[in-house]
């Protein structure tokens, strides 16, 4: 029997070595595998290369990993945010390398790694600083730059539900980088709300086939759902809107 489920986030991230390239899914909070990142911090691997759209917010998730100086290099499209002080500090200090990649090229390079494409010509970035030094070619009247795949040793992603074969479905825009990162890593580790019985996921609606998935850990239903139905009552970070005061603040900030 194939059973890709593991019983804890510690088991899920076991064995990630120093020096590994780790893809981390998510776009902002949506689809960010927060618990797996925390487990990776706990696990202790260092000298990592992180591939992710952002480079951490506030003091949690990727930012916490960076703060522990476990990361040598970041490949991302958008490190600078209002609350990216951890990355900003390390970068200014020269303590972290950055490869800045336009978001669509980042996505396509990850997809290329998963799909066995050796390199591809993209129009994005041509004529800009970010394509400096890259090979360019005019094809059919348009200029393209050559981009190479981005592979990883490990992908940490967050999905909605899985089965024991590792088939995945996602929820709304939290899908973002999950499916392509799952295809581009040697070992793909997934956190989900629930691992359902084999056959319960409609084969028409599986987004990531289990062939791309190695380990799945179930963490229970996300707080803004109840028995599968959206109930809300949280802020953008998934924290409960506990008091009228909180609600007023959230409204003010929206």
């Amino acid at each position: 029997m194939i059973d890709k489920s593991v019983s804890s986030v510690a088991d899920a991230v076991a064995g990630i070595p120093d020096g590994a390239t780790v893809m981390i899914g998510g776009f902002g909070r949506a689809g960010q595998p927060v618990e797996l990142i925390d487990a990776l911090i706990e696990q202790g691997a260092g000298d990592l290369t992180i591939v992710s759209n952002n480079a951490g917010n506030a003091d949690v998730g990727i930012a916490a990993l960076l703060a522990k100086r476990r990361v040598r290099r970041v490949i991302c499209s958008f490190p600078r945010q209002s609350d990216s002080w951890v990355f900003d500090g390390l970068y200014r200090e020269g303590a972290i390398e950055l490869e800045l990649v336009p978001q669509g090229n980042l996505a396509e390079r990850i997809r290329a790694a998963g799909a066995g494409i050796g390199a591809f010509f993209t129009p994005t970035g041509v004529g800009t600083q970010l394509a400096e030094g890259k090979e360019t070619r005019e094809i059919d009247g348009r200029v393209y730059a050559l981009e190479y795949p981005i592979k990883a040793d490990v992908a940490l992603i967050s999905a909605f539900k899985a089965d024991r074969w590792g088939n995945l479905i996602y929820r709304e825009t939290a899908r973002n980088f999950g499916p392509i990162m799952a295809s581009a890593a040697v070992t793909t580790v997934v956190q989900v709300d629930e691992i359902v019985q084999l056959g319960r996921l409609d084969p028409e609606t599986v987004v990531t086939p289990g062939i791309f998935v190695d380990r799945v850990v179930a963490l229970g239903e996300r707080p803004w759902l109840k028995d599968g139905v959206f109930i809300g009552g949280v802020d953008l970070h998934g924290r409960p809107l506990e008091s009228a005061h909180d609600r007023a603040e959230a409204e003010g900030g929206a």
Binding site: F27, G28, R29, A30, G31, N53, S77, F78, P79, R80, Q81, F87, Y91, R92, L98, L100, V101, P102, Q103, G104, N105, L106, A107, E108, I110, R111, T122, P123, T124, G125, V126, G127, T128, Q129, L130, V143, R171, E172, T173, A174, R175, N176, F177, G178, P179, I180, R222, W224, F230, G232, G233, V234, D235, L236, G238, L241, R247, A250, E251, A254
Partner: protein, 219 residues
Amino acid sequence: MTTQLSRQELAKRIASDIPEGSYVNLGIGAPTLVANDLPEDQEIILHTENGMLGMGEAPETARVDPDLVNAGKQPVTALAGASYFHHADSFGMMRGGHLDVCVLGAFQVAENGDLANWSTGALGAIPAVGGAMDLAIGAKHLYVMMDLLTKQGESKLVTTCSYPLTGLGCVSRVYTDFAVFDVTPNGFAVRELFGDNTVGELSELLTLELADETHAARA
């Protein structure tokens, strides 16, 4: 020459140029205002590059869904008819030229349609590009929405961009507080003047040659 539209007025002006049935991406910042002025009796489908078509307005606070955000990472809703997809598919949709209109902010637009909107090139600044370069080349029509002048009174329409480029020759039209400009093979053409502005005055203000296409646009 005194007429300047407010951001809201300009957003409304842009909204009125987007035909029903268009697939549209509204960039982060001022361009998102355009969504509020799209006519309610018409269907215009909003794309957000983090993986959705058919994006709806912001939810009320108690209905914020952390899984459902736009490219600015703000909470949104999904309309009936929406669809979700992953990042490679989403940017393939843009790169493949399937969107009709993209509206972006800018630091500068050059006569040849070059766009600078991702970096001020300031020394020591942390660089960040996000989807800016993909958006620049990712629609049939790229509209820029911006103030015509910097706070220091310098023209943001230029002969050649001094800021780092986002994309080459990609801008179709520029909506500013003073006027609407088309990018043509011969440089900027004034398509529409707001209030009492004139082409001559604008040309002097910007120290740029401007073709007068206000007549053609009205025809």
